[in-house]
């Protein structure tokens, strides 16, 4: 596990997934639930489809005992994008030099923001309960070439170390007043990027040598922990998704 510090907080969602009570559930179960809700949030009429899907995802995040602070921290950047991008929907541009507040844009803005927040909650339900290390070895079943999934798995293995390197180099530079002026800040940032590049290639070379002495033939098969698919969980998921689809389409069709 990562040590406490900023690198750990960068990967707080993955850490929550590794340490949460849903850790040993089959990733396909969690994908069906969270991504099913995500599809409902995006594809069904926003009111009430997104409201129901997002609400269900929020309740399930609590049921999976994901710390609220982890969810809120992860949601900050996407919510900032949603807030910023929604502003242009509330104004119209009748001529190139004129902007006017457009009350007719309010329903579109509310619909878009609502859909996005609901979909984000569903995404967080998946990411905060399903470790990426459980997902990657199973991606080839979706038809993705094994060479691509293996490169993705190697990327995953190395990125924790590299992000930790960035943090360590940044801390050392800060201790040497490396961010005192704009000039020194840019020089320090370039140093961080160069250090990460050198360490990434060095790591690749060491892996290459280590694998070569073990008779590497091109296959990087790793043992994947076996999890049983829970029939009651899948049945409950199907019932929940069915109820959301029926309610959303049933409520909308008479209008």
């Amino acid at each position: 596990m990562l040590p406490a510090g900023s690198a750990a907080s960068v990967f707080a969602l993955d850490i929550a997934a590794h340490t949460g009570p849903w850790r040993n559930r089959h990733p396909a179960e969690k994908a069906l639930l969270a991504l099913g809700l995500l599809v409902c949030a995006v594809a069904l009429p926003t009111w009430p489809g997104a409201l129901l899907s997002g609400g269900a995802a929020a309740v399930l995040l609590a049921a999976a005992r994901v710390p609220p602070v982890v969810v809120l921290r992860a949601a900050r950047v996407p919510l900032l994008f949603v807030a910023t991008s929604t502003v242009p929907l509330l104004v119209s541009m009748p001529s190139p030099a004129r902007l006017a507040i457009d009350p007719a844009g309010l329903p579109v803005a509310a619909q878009t923001a609502g859909r996005s927040v609901a979909a984000l909650t569903c995404l967080l339900l998946f990411t905060a309960t399903t470790p990426l290390s459980d997902v990657l070895p199973r991606l080839h079943r979706l038809g993705i070439p094994s060479a691509v999934t293996e490169v993705a798995a190697l990327t995953y293995r190395m990125l924790f170390l590299l992000v930790e390197s960035v943090r360590a180099v940044r801390q050392a530079q800060a201790a040497r007043l490396g961010f005192r002026t704009w000039r020194t800040a840019y020089r320090s940032l370039a140093g961080q990027a160069a250090a990460v590049f050198v360490r990434a290639l060095h790591r690749a070379r060491r892996l290459e040598e280590g694998l070569a002495v073990r008779g590497y033939t091109g296959s990087l098969a790793v043992q994947v922990a076996a999890h049983r698919v829970s029939a009651p969980f899948v049945a409950a998921t199907m019932m929940l998704l069915g109820a959301i689809v029926t309610t959303s389409t049933g409520l909308v069709s008479p209008w």
Binding site: S92, C122, L132, E150, A152, L159, V163, A194, A204
Partner: protein, 226 residues
């Protein structure tokens, strides 16, 4: 600039997957061929993906007082070439969605098109043009990083404008509105990323000449003045 999960209407989100798919499939085939010829290159590609992800952990100080992270598009395209970057960029965007909730799964197609396809191709095109015109490594790398970042921003703005045209002036008006609101951060960021990438390549050409030669950025025994 990642389009957040669920922000695009479902038809548009699906359409961007269709637009991006041929590029990613082409890149995947190139990557599979490369690994079949040289199985060890898998490790270098994994390291390249992790490097691209780690670049997004850098915090560039912004003129608006906040900080932002570089896209890494320009440097990645120059070091690893655009077809490989379309796959590595897609992997990095998937990781950013699943590990950090930046971007999303429904908007992955749109984000891949702007950040893993158009950005790297514009960056690599700019780099090649400046080099062929006799420019040095420094100006070529600056053009690649700054224009790659600007192209990513421009495509994202176009994607938003297509999804939400202005009721009075249509797509043109929406381009101006979305372009204006994001220009405050994205244009200074593109210039910052250009300058930073020049410094990074200058540093690497002193410390990692052999690696840059192996990646084709420096010619064997060539004198470099970045």
């Amino acid at each position: 600039m990642h389009i957040a999960e669920g922000y695009l209407p479902p038809e548009q989100a699906a359409a961007w997957f269709v637009v991006s798919a041929p590029f990613v499939v082409h890149g995947s085939r190139a990557l599979v061929r490369q690994i079949r010829t040289d199985p060890d290159s898998k490790l270098l590609l994994g390291a390249a993906g992790a490097f691209t992800f780690a670049l997004s952990a850098l915090k560039i100080p912004s003129v608006t007082g906040s900080s932002s992270h570089p896209t890494g598009t320009g440097l990645g395209a120059v070091l690893f070439r655009p077809p490989v970057m379309s796959v590595l960029g897609s992997i990095v965007l998937l990781f950013q969605a699943l590990l950090l909730a930046h971007g999303g799964l429904s908007t992955l197609g749109a984000n891949i098109f702007s950040m893993a396809i158009v950005g790297p191709w514009v960056a690599y095109g700019s780099y090649t043009m400046v080099r062929r015109a006799g420019g040095g490594l420094g100006p070529a790398v600056f053009a690649a990083a700054a224009l790659g970042s600007l192209a990513t921003y421009g495509v994202t703005v176009a994607q938003l404008a297509l999804a939400f045209p202005d009721p009075a002036s249509g797509i043109a008006g929406a381009l101006a509105k979305f372009g204006g609101i994001f220009a405050v951060t994205q244009i200074p960021l593109a210039i910052s990323e250009g300058l930073l990438t020049v410094l990074v390549v200058r540093l690497l050409s002193r410390t990692s000449r052999d690696d840059l030669r192996r990646l084709g950025l420096l010619r064997p025994a060539a004198e470099v003045r970045a």
